[in-house]
Each structure stands twice: as C-alpha cells, then as structure tokens.
C-alpha cells in the first residue's frame, strides 16, 4: 500500500511507534546488567558558600552501600578546563561535580551514594550530614540587574547584538506613537518527562557502554573520554530513545559523570537516575528582563526599535541567547539599536530550552508590537503586515524563502480574524470575556555538518545509520522516509539505526536542524548509492543505460531504471549479484554552504492566533482556540510535523500562563521544585489546536528543502496569549507567567 504513495509528504505513523506504545522502547535507565550498582546524588541545600564539613559515616554504614563519593574522595579526573568543555560548552568554566568544597548554585550535587539497590542508595543519601558556611545567595534578576554586564566573550557571533543603524533615539523622539515598556519573565524549567539517567555497563573487556539521556551521543562520548582520559574506542554511548529533553540534554549532565566515575572506580556497572527535584537545579530557561522602546509613524510604519535585554546566568559560565537581534529583522525598520547584557546569579547555568532566545524575545517583541498597534489605533495583524520586510535588515542578506505573509493571511482566514472587534473588552459571551491575539514567530533554519551511511540490499531493504537522536521529534521516521523516497522503496523496508556514538558523525540534536541536516546527509548517501549502482551496471554487458547521467535514473520496483522509460532497467539484485556484492553503501555528508551564506540567510516563520476566554469576575483563563500557520519549507511527514508544532504551542501556553520557578531569594532555593507545584499544562488546559503548513521547498535552506520544526511552534505563543488577554480585559500584562491572580486583578471593574 505504501508503495503506491509518494513517501515524501505522506503522514507515515512513526516507525518507532509500536515500540513506544507497548513499553518496549528502552530509555537510558532501562538497561540491566548482573551485579549492577545504583547511584543517587545528594544536593546542596544552600545556593552559595562552602561545605564546612561532610559526614558520610552513617550513609556508608547503610546496608548495601558500596561507596559514598564527595569532593574529599573523588577519583582523579581531568584537570584542564578544555577537557571538560563539551561540543556546546559556553564561555567560562564548565561545572565539575565534586571538585571542591565550593557551592556555586542551589541544588548542586555534593555527594554520590552508590549501593546494591536503588532504595539503599536513595535512602542512604538522606543520611549524609553536611554543614555549610553559607554566603548570600543572588537569585533575583530584578536585583542582580544592577550589576549587569556585556559578556566579554560571545557564545556565538549570531548572539552579539547587531550594530545600530539609523538614529533610533532621534526617530523615537520625533515619532507620534511610542511605547517604552519593560517585560519580566521568570525562569522556566525544561521538565522532560524522563528523568535524567545514565547506565554505565562495564563490558567483560573493561570497555564501557553508556546508555545516556542526551541529545547527542557523540557529545557525551567525547566528554566522557576527555574527562576520564579514556580511549575513544573503549567507550560507546547510546541514546536510542530519549524521553524528551527540549534542550536540557544538549550538554552532559552530572549523572553521566557520576555513572562513569563510579563504574571505573568500582569496576562494576552503575546506573544513576536523577530525582525530579534534582532536575530543577540542572539548567533552566533564564529569567529575563527586556526593555522595548518602539515608535511608529502616523501611517503605522515602524520609526524606531530599541531592545535591551538582561538575562540571568551562573557564576562561572556566560550562558547567552540571541534575544535582541530578532527585533532588528522581524519587521522593516531603519532606526534600530539593540543591546544585551547578563547578570550573574547563584543558580545553575541556564541552558537552551525550546527556541532559546527567540521564545523569550518574541514574548516581549510581539507584546510590544501589539502595544504599539493599539497606540497607532491599527488592527494588530494589519500593523504587522504593514511592517513586513522581505530581507534580513540586520545583516543585509536575502532570505531564501519567506511565506510569513501567507501565514498571516491563511491563519487569519482559518481563525476568522476579520470578525474581531478592535476595542479591548468588546467581545463577550455570557460570563466569558473573549480576547483574540496574534503574534509572529521567526527561527533560524540551520544546516549543520552531518554524515549518514545508507546501505541498500538486493531485496530492497535499506539500513540508514547516523548518530542523530530522536528526542520525540520523529527522526527515525523521517530518515526512513528520505531513504525510501530516494531509493524508490516503501518506507517499511527501511531500518534506521540512530542514537549511538559509533554511528556516522552528527551534531547534537537541537536548533531544529536535525531533519534538514541528517535528512540531507541520508539523501546524499542515497545519491551515492545510485551513482555506484549506475557505474556497476554500466560495467555489465548489454546494460540499457548508455551514458545516461545518474540524474536520469530512478529506482522502481527494486530496479534501476531510466526515469523516462522504466521498461529500460536492471534489477538491483542482478547488478549486485553480477559483481558478487551483498549490498551497496553510500556515505552522505553535508555542511553549510559558506558562499551562499554571504548572500542568503534562512528562517522558518509562523503566525499564531489565539482565543482566550476569561471569566469576567474571577479571571480564570482558558485558551479555547489556537491556529498556528507555519512556513517551515518542505514537510516530509505532516503527522510528525504537526506534532512538533502542537508541542511548541502547548509549551508556549505554559510559558504564558503557568510556568515559573518560584525562588526563595533569601536562600536561593526553588520552592516549587516538583510537578505538583511547577505547573506544566495538563490535558484540561489544552483545547484543539489547528496547525497549517504553508509549504515551500527551500533547497537553499537544505538540500532536501526542509527548514526545521522543533522550535518555531512555541515562538510567539506566549505573546499571542498575552495579547488575547489584553484584548479580553484591557489590561496589558508584562510579567510572565500571567497567572490567574494577575488576570483577576486586571479585570475591568
């Protein structure tokens, strides 16, 4: 059946689905070995200071405990910072678990108990007695902003604010309509459902196989080899199934260090799984303050854009995001000034969380655009359309494809935006105040270096191999579809091997680049197979291909044929058989085109429309409708693609309404470090979400025409909700999340 359908664009159910729904897909903590030990970490209860004393006697005496590790007895590991820097490390000094007595952030791991059972490790960890010399914690961004600074070393060039253009101050002063507002967003926590875990299996020959919860098996592999001085061939890291990560798994986490450390030291297999509360102190989307000084001319065109952001980072690393540059490229404006600073806190180092930078930026940018539209007295969608820009004004680059205007139009039609009345509080249904909000989203479409191997067998079966990860994104399925499409086979003939450091080189899974990069690498591998098959065939007597170039060839029904006349061809089995080969392999590689990058840049775009209904007395908010129109290039699998957008929207709802780490700034502790009090959206919070793809094959963005989907779905959602709340109630909320109490206090009297 699948054979008859085009494989690209077909909503193929995930090929890993049957394993996931039957509980047979193994995640990092789900590997077992005879004699395995279990590790459990103890965490600091202060956010800053030193360990005065640490008494592990009682824990060590606990029945079943093998060893307790602290900074006093940590086995020797790499000393130089360079060895601790992973593929996506930041400017500064990476965290080294159990390095010394210093406490740099709340919840820092300070000991590891290793025991014969999970229960013994967990329960003994409670018996470790630690005295501290506490220092004053610094965790409140609204206080620490006083000591903000420009990061001396940029994380990436793209994160450095673009140079000012025009005269932003002068244009602001001269413009008839203006806003000068500040947005505050509290820190968020990734909270993938799977707990961070690493299972280090000690093989008979002393080598290690580590099952790690990570977004990059090779990143974890290299980290382990560097930190522990191991030979690359003696360590294999596997992340075949990853129970969500959203960026939290980009950098190696302390459980990986602990599992390998204990396994090497005790010469046993060791599993270390975190607790949920431990994960709140692991990394986070940093608290951010954004000041937006925007002005518009009488005709509704933007006169001036100034965007200044201050983000929290940790004491030892300068985590940075691209926050402000979005304000210079989303809309047409000739007078722009952007600036970005950090503020040190005694929190764990922030980390990328779904659409890092952009999710935060567009919360403020798209709220500010809404505010300015109301100042001008223009419909917020019309205002955005009025300021549409077709090129990247920051770097003066052409954009490879931009269907944002179509997203506005199609999204608005589906949503019924033309029935919106402009005045806040003007739409009501019984007790419900109704608000409609819109926001734009933009994310960079990136191609990273990636490799893949593809092997085709005589019976048409295909194996695809790459170190890529599937963190719920559908990587298994779309790589199968790419190979099937390119080699003319039904998708069910493709086996996909990913999530293993021994497979062909791939970057960490992030930034929405996996489909574009690994997909293109698979395509390149398939192309190599076709070339090889053709040259093999052309060595055979009486072959029908003449001097035809590979572009004129196709594979149909397991035969290599001329595309224009598929009667002319040879079966793959015959070609391989003739040469005594059991399979044919292609090795695909892709890398960004540096020449193209001098003239072009690529983005995904989205327009998100939201309806909120708010109880007119009590302020209870319900997001009753969402339409998300997305321009992300070619859609390989509409089913998994749609899911990516749904997921982004849902996380955006949490960002808008619920999610915030509530810190007691006296102690630096996150008080709601659990899933009962840190509220991620539940089923009841999420009504139906309409996803529309504005498809365009963008072969400049990536060879397979894909632009990426993982981030774009969340971008703008928070602002669209906030704008809808403004439309419903007339109150502009600038502190996120917008919880029920804030809404209630802002209701019209």
């Amino acid at each position: 059946m699948l054979n008859e359908k085009p494989v690209f664009g077909f909503p193929l159910p995930r090929i890993d689905g049957p394993l996931k729904v039957t509980g047979t897909a193994p995640y990092a903590a789900e590997y077992h070995a005879p004699g395995m030990l279990f590790g459990y970490a103890a965490q600091a209860t202060i956010a800053s200071g030193r360990i005065a004393s640490i008494d592990t006697a009682e824990a060590e005496a606990y029945p079943g405990v093998a060893k307790v590790y602290t900074h006093k007895n940590r086995p020797s590991v790499a000393w130089r910072d360079k060895k601790w820097k992973d593929e996506v490390a930041l400017p500064g000094h990476p965290f080294r678990p159990l390095e010394n007595d210093r406490i740099l952030f709340g919840g820092q791991p300070v000991a590891l108990v290793v025991a014969e059972s999970f229960e013994a490790a967990r329960d003994a960890a409670e018996l470790i007695r630690i005295e501290y010399h506490p220092d004053e914690p610094h965790t409140d961004i609204t206080v620490e902003r006083a000591k903000s600074y420009v990061p001396p070393e940029a994380r990436k060039d793209s994160m450095v604010p673009t140079d000012p253009r025009g005269d932003a101050e002068g244009a602001y002063e001269a413009a008839p309509f203006k806003i000068d507002v500040e947005y505050l967003q509290q820190g968020e926590h990734h909270n993938p459902m799977e707990l961070f875990a690493s299972t280090a299996i000690r093989n008979e020959d002393g080598t290690l196989t580590v099952y790690d919860k990570t977004q990059g098996s090779q990143n974890s592999h290299d980290y382990v080899c560097n930190v522990f001085g191991l030979k690359p061939e003696n360590v294999r890291v596997v992340n075949a199934y990853v129970g969500g990560a959203f960026g939290s798994g980009l950098r190696p986490k302390h459980q990986l260090f602990f599992a390998v450390m204990a396994s090497l030291d005790l010469k046993r297999s060791v599993k270390v799984e975190m607790s949920r509360s431990e994960m709140f102190y692991l990394t986070w989307r940093p608290a951010t303050i954004q000041r937006m000084q925007f002005a518009a001319n009488a005709d509704g065109t933007l006169a001036s854009v100034r965007h200044h952001a201050i983000q929290a980072t940790s004491l030892r690393e300068d985590y940075q995001e691209n926050v402000v540059n979005w304000s210079g490229l989303t809309y047409k404006c000739d007078n722009v000034k952007l600036s970005y600073e950090l503020a040190k806190t005694t929190m764990s180092t922030p980390g990328d969380m779904r659409a890092p930078g952009a999710a935060t930026a567009f919360l403020a940018l798209e709220s500010a655009m809404d505010e300015l539209a109301y100042e001008v007295g223009m419909d917020p969608l019309e205002f955005r359309g009025k300021n549409f820009v077709s090129y990247d004004q920051n770097d003066d680059l052409q954009i490879t494809s931009k269907e944002l205007d179509t997203c506005y139009r199609v999204g608005a039609e589906r949503f019924g935006w033309d029935k919106r009345s402009h005045e806040p509080g003007s739409m009501r249904d019984g007790n419900d105040l109704i608000g409609w909000g819109v926001a734009t989203g933009v994310w960079e479409a990136t191609l990273t270096q990636a490799e893949a191997k593809v092997r085709l067998f005589p019976d048409g079966k295909i194996t695809v191999m790459a170190a890529a990860s599937d963190i719920g994104t559908g990587t298994y399925t779309i790589l199968a579809q790419v190979a099937a499409q390119e080699l003319g086979q039904p998708a069910d003939r493709v086996s996909v091997l990913i999530g293993d450091s021994t497979l062909p080189k791939t970057s960490v899974e992030g930034g929405s680049w996996t489909a574009a990069s690994s997909g293109s690498a698979v395509q390149a591998g398939c192309m190599e197979i076709r070339k090889t098959l053709l040259s093999l065939a052309q060595k055979m007597d009486n072959h029908p291909f003449g001097n035809a170039p590979v572009e004129e060839l196709a594979i149909r029904d397991n035969r290599l044929v001329l595309d224009r006349n598929d009667q002319m061809g040879l079966s793959i089995a015959d070609i391989l058989g003739h040469h005594g080969m059991s399979s044919v392999e292609g090795h695909g590689k892709v890398a960004p085109d540096q020449e193209q990058a001098k003239k072009y840049t690529s983005f995904t775009h989205g327009a998100v429309f939201v309806e909120v209904r708010i109880d007119a007395e009590l302020g209870v908010p319900r997001v009753t409708r969402v339409v998300s129109a997305i321009d992300a290039g070619r859609i390989i699998n509409p089913k998994t693609a749609r899911s990516q957008i749904l997921g982004g929207v849902v996380m955006g709802l949490g960002m808008a309404l619920h999610e915030e780490g509530m810190i007691d700034h006296r102690t630096g502790r996150i008080m709601n470090h659990n899933l009962a009090e840190y509220h991620v959206p539940a089923h009841a919070d999420v009504h139906d979400i309409d996803v529309i793809f504005i498809e365009e094959e963008d072969k400049m963005a990536s060879p397979i025409g894909v632009k990426g989907l993982g981030e774009i779905g969340i971008i703008g959602v928070g602002a669209a909700v906030a704008n809808a709340i403004f439309h419903a109630t007339g109150t502009r909320h600038r502190h996120f999340p917008i919880t029920i109490d804030k809404i209630m206090e802002g209701l019209p009297q």
Binding site: T45, E119, R122, D123, E126, N431, D432, R613, D615, E617, L618, V620, R622, L657, H658, M662, I663, D664, R666, T667, R669, M671, N672, H673, N674, A676, E677, H679, P681, A682, H683, A684, D685, T739, I740, D741, M744, E745
Partner: protein
C-alpha cells in the same frame, strides 16, 4: 525514605495493637500522601500499619436517611456512588475537583482527612518548618507564600489544608468516627481539623492510637442548591488557591439554611456556622451572598504573595452561592465557570 517495619493488620484490633506498640507508627491506607512524604524524607515512621484489609470499605444507608462511609472507601468509589451523586452531589463534585482519577482510585476517605499541607517549606526538609520540625521556624512567612493561608494562621504556621473533599464535608457538617485505645468517639467535622496556633505540628484533634473508621453524613436538603467552585493555577490536577463549597436550602427565595466552606485559605476547611446562621431568613440574592462573604473574610490577612486570595475568595464565595441558588452547580469537567 527511612526503613520501617511493616504490619499488615487483619482486624481493627490488630491495627490498634500495632499502633499502641509503637508511638511513631503510622497507619497506611491509600498511601498517596504518606508514601509521597516518606520519599521526601518529611515523614519518617519507624513502623507502618497497613489497614487496607480492614472491613471499612462499605457505604451504608443510615436509618435517619444519612450515610455512613467506611474509612477505606476510595475517593473515586465515593464520588460515583449513586447515593452520593443523588443526595450529596456537593461531596461528589468536590472529590472530582481534586487530584486525578489515578489518585482518587487509591486515596481513601479517612486518608483524605489526614492529608498534610502542600506548603513548600513543609515539603522541603532543608528549610525551617514548625509543622515538620516544631521550633525550627516558619520558612513561608516572608518567603514564597502564594499558596498560603489568609485566615486563622499563626505566627508559627501559615500552611493550608489541601483537601477538596474535606471542604464539602465541612459544609455538610459530617461526623468523623474514630476508634482508639479509649474506645469509639464521634468528632464533629468542624472540630476535627485544627488551626495551627502554637502547635502547627498537630493537624487535627485525633488522639494517639486512634484510627478513623468512618465518616457519617446526615440527611440534608442541599441536593438541589449547591456548588463546588475551585480556582487554581491550571485547570486540572492542581491544588486549590481558593475553593468554595456552597450549599443552600431555599424556600420562596428566602434562605432556610446556608453553608459556605472554604478551601485553600486556612489550616483547616474554613467555615463559620455562627455567621451562616445570621443569614437564615434573608433573601437568596447576590447582596446577601456578598454580605456573607464579607463577614467570612472579615479577619483575612495576606502574607504578601497570597494577598490576592482575599478578593479572590470574596468573589468565589458570591459566585458559588449564585451557582447554588440558580441550581446550576459547577461541573468539574467544564472549565467555563457557570
């Protein structure tokens, strides 16, 4: 979790003997709160007495038209029992507003009464908490106190009781039956939970060695006019910021009996029956309800983060009473407030 000894009690006598034998023993029924707290190292019982085998799972009709609910009846079984849905729909609704279906399947009637607070500081052994560790101080005062009490708090504790079911039971003036070394006794619901005062470590008025055996409901006239309205930070599977159990007996537009119990605002389900009594005979109108709300919240005091609870509670009381008066109780799966 601290190691403990485990006893599976086959009879009430067994259970009481096991409790008597070890003063730090704790009774285990559904376990949804006790096991949770043991894993956080908040509860550290040296002995667990498992009472799940005891014959306390029946819901009995009483001769006076009331119901006797065995302490081990699950929250789900209670919420969906025909006698409850027909005669005590306020109770059914309150139960379904709480927790999740999984937790309601496990949690028991007696256990729900003994739920401990969700105060962040109580749950975090690295912080001071007079309820967890008497004399250590209260972290919530001056700390993160969004979910804390606005009524009846003390300088030692500003925690709230987290139950939804108990708010309805307070409004319905249930009776708690307990059995202990000194025999059986009845505790009126209003006297079951305590305010923190100088002893926040004591949530209720049960005595050492006592076990809840049942909760009794009297015949009531609230099946038509009632509502359980719960306000929270997400639309389901979240504890109440403020909840209201409202029940009315109305004749010709005049109040015969009015009951209002509040959840999420105090160390116990908050009810003032003297205040309620003053409103008997008054018209069942919004003005009356607002006056009652003002009366109930007269002494309310915020802690900073939770100041919003005072206006929120006021509005919620009026709204819930309006829903009750109109005979349009809040439906828990319907997130639109009626």
């Amino acid at each position: 979790m601290r190691p403990f000894s485990y006893t599976r009690a086959e009879t009430l006598g067994d259970a009481m003997a096991a409790l008597a034998a070890n003063p730090t023993a704790r009774v285990l029924a559904g376990g949804t709160n006790l096991i949770d707290l043991m894993k956080y190292d908040v509860e550290r019982p040296a002995a667990i007495v498992d009472i799940n085998r005891l014959p306390l799972k029946e819901i009995e009709e009483l001769p006076d038209g009331g119901l006797r609910i065995g302490a081990l009846v699950s929250n789900a079984a209670l919420a969906y029992h025909p006698a409850v849905t027909e005669r005590y729909p306020l109770l059914a609704s309150a139960i379904l507003a709480g927790a999740s279906p999984q937790l309601r399947n496990a949690a028991t009637t007696g256990g729900n009464l003994l739920q401990r607070t969700r105060c962040y500081y109580f749950y975090d052994p690295s912080t001071p908490c007079n309820k967890r560790e008497p004399g250590s101080g209260c972290g919530a005062i001056g700390g993160v106190n969004r979910i804390h009490a606005i009524l009846g708090a003390s300088e030692h504790c500003i925690a709230t009781h987290p139950s939804d079911m108990c708010v309805a039971l307070a409004a319905l003036a249930a009776i708690v039956e307990v059995e202990g070394p000194d025999g059986r006794r009845d505790i009126p619901f209003a006297d079951f939970h305590r305010l923190p005062g100088d002893h926040p470590e004591r949530d209720n008025t049960m005595r050492q060695g006592e076990i809840i055996t049942a909760v009794r409901l009297e015949c009531n006239h609230f099946a038509r006019h009632h509502s359980y309205l719960k306000l929270r930070d997400r639309l389901s599977y979240a504890f109440a910021l403020v909840s209201v159990a409202a029940a009315l007996d109305v004749k010709d537009g005049m109040i015969v009996d009015i009951r209002v119990a509040l959840g999420g605002v105090a160390h116990k389900p908050w009810r003032d029956s003297l205040a309620e009594a003053e409103f008997a005979g008054q018209p069942a109108t919004e003005e009356t309800f607002a006056a009652l709300a003002d009366r109930l919240l007269a002494g309310a005091e915020g802690q900073g983060d939770n100041d919003f609870k005072i206006p929120m509670a006021r509005k919620a009381i009026v709204r819930a009473l309006k829903q009750a008066a109109a005979g349009t109780p809040q439906v828990q799966s319907d997130k639109r407030i009626r």
